[in-house]
C-alpha cells in the first residue's frame, strides 16, 4: 500500500496518452496507445500482486478534497480489483485489434479508447458516490464517438440509441443519489454500504438504481440497444462494450443495490428473477436464428448477463461468487468471440454466417482458438464459463429451484446456438471460394488470442486465483444481504439419521441418510 497513488496513476496514464494521441500522426498514435495500455496492464498486475488478500477490505485508498460537494476518493476491494484487472487486460488487445482495421482518424480513435480506459478504471475504483456517477456517465461520450465515427452502416442510429437509452436509465439514479446523500450526510461509498435506509425509501431508491443498472447490464426488455450497438461498433468497440461496459451494471448491483438496499433487493428479487429467466430463454432463442455473427454474440451476452443477475439475487455466497466469475469469464470470452469475428471480418468484410464455411481447412489455428472460446461460452468444464455458471445456478437453486431449472435450459440453448454457429462457420464444406482462400491468423492475431485462451483455461482449471481476492468481500456482502434473503423453496437441511436399521452396515446407513436428505430437498 504505502503512499504511492497507484490508482490515480492508472487513471492518469491513459488520460495523458489520450491527449497526446490527438496531436500526432497515425503511426505514433498507435504506438502511444499500445505503450500506455501496456503500462496500465503492468500497473494492474502490480496492483493484483500487492493486493493483500485477507487484509483490509478497502486497499490503495486515496482521499483528496478537491471539489465542492464530493471528493476525489479512490480505493478498491477484491471485486473492484478483478474488474480493473479485466479492463486493463483487455485494453492492449483492443488496441492490437484496431492496429490495421482502423485507418482513418487514428489519433482520435486511440484517444477515445484511452479515455474509455480511464473512465472504466475510474468507475471501479471510485469511492465517492458522485465521483462514481461522473465516471459512469462520462463513458457515454467516447463510446458514442467510437460507434458513430468508426461503426458500420447503421452507426448513427445505433449511437443515438446507445446514448439516449443509457442516459435515460442513469439520470434517475442521480436523483436517488442526492436523496441518499441528503439522508445520510455522506458521499462515501463504504459508509453508505453500511447505512440502513428506511425500507419504504429503499423501494424507490432501488428502483432508481435498477433503472440505470438494468439498462447498462442489459436486462430484458431494455436490452435492445445492445445488439444495435454491438453490431455497428468496430471490433475493438464491441470487445470493450461486451467485456467491460456491461460489467458496470453487475458491479453496480454488487456495490450499490444489494448492500445499500438489502430489503428492497429482496422485495424485488422476483422481478429480477422473472426478467432474467425471460432473458436467458428468450434471447437464447433469438440468438439461435441470427444470420449476423456479431448479433448472435450480442444476444448471447444478454443471456449470460441473465445468469449473472440470477446469481446476484440468489442472496448467498455461491450465487454472488458465480455471478462475479460469470462476469469475468464473459468479459474475456465474449471479448474473444468478438475478436474472432473481427479477424474474419477484416478479411472478408462481412459478418453474415452463410458467407463462410469450412474455415477449419484453410484456417486451422483460427479454428482452434474459436473452438476454445466457443466451448467457454457454452460452459464446458475446464473452461471459465463452467465455473461461473455452475456456481450461479448452485446459488439460485438454494433460493428457487424453478429459477434454477429455467436458467439451466438457457445453458442448453447456449450450447445449441454456439455450436450451430461454430458448425456453420468453421466446419462443413468450403462452399464459398473467397472464404476458402482466407489466410490463417498472423502473429499479431496470435498474440491477441493466446493470452485470452490462456486466461480462459486458467479460470476454468484453477478458479481459486480469482476467487481468493474477493472471498472476504463476497462474505461481507453476503452477511449484509442475508438478513433480508428470501426463504428458499429447496429447504435444504440435514435429515435425522436412521437408527432402527441394525441389519445395515455403516456404509448403508450413510447412503440411506443421503437418500433421505435428497428426498427432502426435492
Amino acid at each position: 500500500m504505502g503512499g504511492f497513488p497507484i490508482l490515480s496513476i492508472m487513471l492518469l496514464v491513459p488520460l495523458v496518452a489520450a491527449v497526446a494521441c490527438l496531436f500526432v500522426r497515425a503511426e505514433s498514435a498507435r504506438m502511444i496507445a499500445l505503450v500506455a495500455t501496456l503500462v496500465d496492464l503492468a500497473l494492474g498486475i502490480a496492483l493484483w500482486a500487492s493486493f493483500d488478500i485477507g487484509g483490509a477490505q478497502w486497499q490503495f485508498v486515496e482521499r483528496a478534497p478537491l471539489f465542492a460537494g464530493f471528493q476525489w476518493a479512490l480505493g478498491i476491494d477484491g471485486i473492484a480489483l478483478l474488474l480493473i484487472v479485466l479492463s486493463v487486460f483487455l485494453m492492449p488487445i483492443c488496441i492490437g485489434a484496431s492496429w490495421n482495421s482502423i485507418q482513418n482518424r487514428v489519433g482520435e480513435y486511440m484517444a477515445a479508447f484511452l479515455l474509455m480506459e480511464t473512465l472504466m478504471i475510474g468507475v471501479f475504483a471510485a469511492q465517492d458516490l458522485f465521483l462514481f456517477y461522473i465516471f459512469f456517465e462520462a463513458g457515454l461520450i467516447p463510446m458514442y464517438l467510437i460507434i458513430g465515427i468508426w461503426g458500420g452502416k447503421d452507426r448513427i442510429y445505433a449511437s443515438y440509441k446507445f446514448f439516449l437509452y443509457t442516459l435515460l436509465g442513469s439520470v434517475l439514479m442521480l436523483i436517488a443519489m442526492f436523496w441518499m446523500v441528503h439522508e445520510s450526510g455522506t458521499t462515501d461509498i463504504p459508509t453508505l454500504m453500511a447505512y440502513d435506509f428506511p425500507p419504504h425509501a429503499q423501494t424507490w431508491l432501488w428502483l432508481a438504481f435498477f433503472a440505470s443498472f438494468a439498462v447498462k447490464m442489459p436486462m430484458w426488455p431494455v436490452h435492445t440497444w445492445l445488439p444495435d450497438a454491438h453490431v455497428q461498433a468496430p471490433t475493438a468497440g464491441s470487445v470493450i462494450l461486451a467485456g467491460v461496459l456491461l460489467k458496470m451494471g453487475g458491479y453496480g448491483f454488487i456495490r450499490f443495490s444489494l448492500p445499500m438496499f438489502p430489503e428492497a433487493s429482496a422485495q424485488f428479487a422476483w422481478l429480477v428473477w422473472a426478467l432474467s429467466m425471460v432473458a436467458v430463454v428468450y434471447t437464447s432463442l433469438v440468438a439461435l436464428v441470427q444470420n449476423d455473427m456479431k448479433k448472435l454474440i450480442a444476444y448471447s451476452s444478454v443471456a449470460h448477463m441473465g445468469i449473472v443477475t440470477i446469481g446476484l439475487f440468489a442472496f448467498n455466497v455461491q450465487g454472488l461468487e458465480g455471478a462475479m466469475i460469470v462476469m469475468l469469464s464473459h468479459g474475456i470470452v465474449s471479448g474473444a468471440l468478438f475478436l474472432a469475428v473481427g479477424v474474419i471480418y477484416d478479411r472478408l468484410h462481412t459478418r453474415e454466417i452463410d458467407r463462410y464455411g469450412g474455415l477449419a481447412i484453410n484456417m486451422p489455428r483460427y479454428a482452434i482458438f474459436f473452438m476454445i472460446f466457443t466451448m467457454a461460452s457454452v460452459g464446458l468444464p475446464g473452461t471459465s464459463g463452467f465455473v461461473g455458471e455452475f456456481l450461479s445456478i448452485a446459488g439460485i437453486y438454494q433460493a428457487s429451484s424453478w429459477v434454477a431449472f429455467v436458467a439451466t435450459t438457457g445453458i442448453i440453448l447456449g450450447a445449441a446456438y454456439m455450436l450451430y454457429l461454430y458448425r456453420r462457420v468453421v466446419f462443413g464444406d468450403q462452399k464459398n471460394a473467397d472464404a476458402a482462400a482466407l489466410p490463417d491468423i498472423d502473429k499479431r492475431e496470435l498474440l491477441m488470442f493466446a493470452p485470452l485462451a490462456a486466461v480462459v483455461m486458467w479460470m476454468g482449471v484453477y478458479p481459486e486465483s480469482f476467487l481468493a481476492p474477493m472471498r472476504a468481500d463476497i462474505a461481507a456482502l453476503d452477511a449484509r444481504v442475508s438478513r433480508a434473503a428470501p426463504a428458499g423453496d429447496a429447504q435444504l437441511h440435514v435429515g435425522a439419521p436412521k437408527h432402527e436399521a441394525s441389519s445395515h452396515g455403516e456404509h448403508g446407513s450413510a447412503a440411506a441418510h443421503d437418500e433421505a436428505a435428497t428426498g427432502e430437498a426435492h
Binding site: L66, I141, I156, S159
Partner: protein, 487 residues
C-alpha cells in the same frame, strides 16, 4: 446613511454612466474610425467596474452597510456576483464584435456605448431593492437592447428582431408595471423590505394577482415558457455578437432580479410563487428541448437551448432555499461560459468568402476540416446536455441537489428525465460535425480574439472546471447568504 456613503456604493454605476457619456461624445466627435478604440476603452471600463465590485463579493457584503438611498439600492455580495458575470459577458461580446461588423461595414462607435448603458441598466436591476429602481434598470437595459437587436440597419432580419423585441418587451414591461401597481396598491409600498413585511402571513387575492403579474413580466425577460416566443426570432435575427450578449448578460440580470424579487420581496409568500416557478421550470425544460429538435439554424437552436437552460435555473429558484439560490448562481456562471463558447464558435463559422455560416447542415464534417473548432463546439454541446465530466453537468448537479434537499423530489425527477430530451438535439450537432461527410462550407479563417474567448470558455467548461468548484461554490454561497440576509 449619509449621501456620500450612498454615492460610494453606486461607484460602478457612476463610472459606467460617466464613461458611457464620455465615450458617446468621443464617438460623435471622432466618428466610426475610432470604434475599435472605443470598444477597447469600454472593455477597460467594464473590467474596472468588475474590479470595483469584487471586494463586496469576496467579503460577502450584506446588511445595512450595503443599502443606499434609503432602501432603493443594495450593493451586496449577491449583486456583486451577478455584476461580475454581467460585466464579463458584456466585455466578451464587445471583444468579438468588431470582426463581425467590419466585414459588413456596419461597425459603429455606438455599439460599445449601447452595451455600456445596457450594463448600467443591468447593474441597477441586480441591485434593486425597490420596485422603482427595478423598473428603471430594466427599461434602461431594454431600450439599449432594442437598438442593439436592430443594429444591422440594412438587414431585414435584424430590423425585424429589433421590432419584435421592442413590441413584446413593451408588453412585458406593461404587465410588470401592472403587477407592481397591484402590489403597491395592496401593500402600500414599493420597497422590497416593505412588501415583505406587508405580505407576512396570508396573502390577499389582490396582492396575489400582483405577484403573478410581476412574475409573468419577469418570465418574459428571462424567456421562460409560456412567455418565450420572442426568443428564437430575436436570437436568430439579431447580429451574432448581439445574440451572444442577449444570451448571457441580460439573462444573468433578469434571473438574478427574479431571484431577488421572489426571495426578498415575496420571500414570505414562497408557497404562492413556488407553483408558478415550478410550472415555468418544467415547461421551459420541455418546450425548450422539443422546440430545438426541428431547428436547422444553429442560432435558433441555441435560443431554444437557452430556454431549456432557464428551466433548469428556475429549479434552483423553486427550491426557495439559500442552497437553491447559490445553485442558481453557479448554474448561471457555467451557463454564461457555455453560451459565450457556443456563440463565439458560431461567429467563427465562415465560408471561403468570409460570410457567416448559420445552418447546421453546413457544419457537416467540421471535425475534419476544423478539428479544434469542432472540439470546442462538441464540448459546449455535451456540456449543455449536462453529460459529465464536462462542467455543464455541475450546474445541473447543484440545482437538482438543491431541489432534492428542499424536498422537491418529484420536480427533480421529472426535470432530469426531461433533460434527456434535450440531449437528443445536442447530440445531433455533434453527429453532424463528427459523423457526417464534410460539407466543405466552413473554410474561412478565424480571428485570434475569437479563438482566445472560445478557448477560455472551452477550458472553463472542460473537466478542469471542477477544480474551481470549491471556490465558485464558496462565492455563490456568500452571495446567496447576502440575498437571504433580509430574511
Amino acid at each position: 446613511m449619509d449621501f456620500a456613503a450612498s454615492l460610494a456604493l453606486i461607484a460602478p454605476e457612476i463610472t459606467l454612466s460617466v464613461s458611457g457619456l464620455v465615450l458617446l461624445l468621443a464617438a460623435a466627435w471622432m466618428g466610426d474610425k475610432a470604434s475599435q478604440l472605443i470598444s477597447w476603452l469600454a472593455v477597460a471600463v467594464l473590467a474596472g467596474c468588475a474590479a470595483m465590485v469584487a471586494p463586496a463579493l469576496c467579503g460577502g457584503a450584506m446588511g445595512a452597510d450595503t443599502v443606499a438611498f434609503g432602501g432603493q439600492y443594495k450593493a451586496d455580495a449577491f449583486s456583486a456576483f451577478s455584476r461580475i458575470l454581467i460585466y464579463v459577458a458584456a466585455a466578451a461580446s464587445l471583444i468579438v464584435a468588431p470582426r463581425f461588423f467590419d466585414r459588413l461595414n456596419a461597425m459603429r462607435a455606438e455599439y460599445p456605448v449601447l452595451v455600456l448603458f445596457a450594463a448600467l441598466g443591468m447593474g441597477l436591476m441586480v441591485s434593486a431593492s425597490d420596485m422603482l429602481t427595478l423598473y428603471i434598470g430594466l427599461e434602461l437595459n431594454s431600450l439599449s437592447a432594442y437598438v442593439l437587436a436592430s443594429f444591422l440597419r440594412t438587414d431585414d432580419r435584424s430590423a425585424e428582431a429589433g421590432l419584435k423585441y421592442f413590441v413584446l418587451g413593451a408588453l412585458a414591461s406593461g404587465i410588470l408595471l401592472f403587477g407592481m401597481s397591484l402590489t403597491y396598491g395592496f401593500t402600500g409600498t414599493t420597497s422590497f423590505a416593505g412588501i415583505r413585511g406587508a405580505l407576512d402571513g396570508s396573502i390577499g387575492t389582490g396582492a396575489l394577482f400582483g405577484l403573478i403579474f410581476v412574475f409573468a413580466g419577469l418570465a418574459f425577460k428571462i424567456s421562460a415558457v409560456p412567455f418565450h416566443m420572442w426568443t428564437p426570432d430575436v436570437y436568430e435575427g439579431a447580429p451574432t455578437p448581439v445574440t451572444t450578449f442577449f444570451a448571457t448578460a441580460p439573462k444573468v440580470a433578469a434571473v438574478s432580479l427574479a431571484a431577488r424579487v421572489a426571495l426578498d420581496a415575496f420571500g414570505t409568500q414562497a408557497a404562492a410563487w413556488q407553483q408558478v416557478v415550478i410550472f415555468a421550470a418544467l415547461a421551459s425544460i420541455i418546450v425548450g428541448a422539443l422546440g430545438a429538435i426541428g431547428q436547422g439554424n444553429i442560432k435558433r437552436l441555441l435560443a431554444y437551448s437557452s430556454i431549456n437552460n432557464v428551466g433548469f435555473i428556475l429549479i434552483g429558484l423553486a427550491a426557495a432555499t439559500p442552497q437553491g439560490a447559490s445553485a442558481m448562481l453557479v448554474y448561471l456562471t457555467i451557463y454564461v461560459a457555455m453560451s459565450l463558447g457556443g456563440f463565439v464558435v458560431v461567429l467563427m463559422l465562415r465560408d471561403a468568402d468570409g460570410n457567416q455560416v448559420e445552418s447546421i447542415a453546413d457544419m457537416a464534417g467540421l471535425s475534419r476540416t476544423k478539428p479544434m473548432l469542432a472540439l470546442c463546439m462538441a464540448a459546449v454541446m455535451f456540456s449543455l446536455a449536462g453529460i459529465p465530466p464536462l462542467f455543464g453537468f455541475w450546474g445541473k448537479f447543484v440545482v437538482f441537489q438543491a431541489a432534492v434537499d428542499a424536498g422537491l423530489i418529484a420536480l427533480a425527477a421529472v426535470g432530469i428525465a426531461a433533460s434527456v430530451i434535450g440531449a437528443f438535439y445536442y447530440l445531433k450537432v455533434v453527429k453532424v460535425m463528427y459523423f457526417d461527410e464534410p460539407a466543405e462550407v466552413v473554410e474561412g479563417d478565424s480571428d485570434p480574439l475569437h479563438w482566445v474567448i472560445a478557448g477560455l470558455a472551452t477550458l472553463f467548461i472542460s473537466p478542469l472546471g471542477y477544480v474551481l468548484t470549491p471556490w465558485l461554490g464558496d462565492l455563490a454561497d456568500k452571495a446567496a447568504a447576502a440575498l437571504f440576509f433580509a430574511a
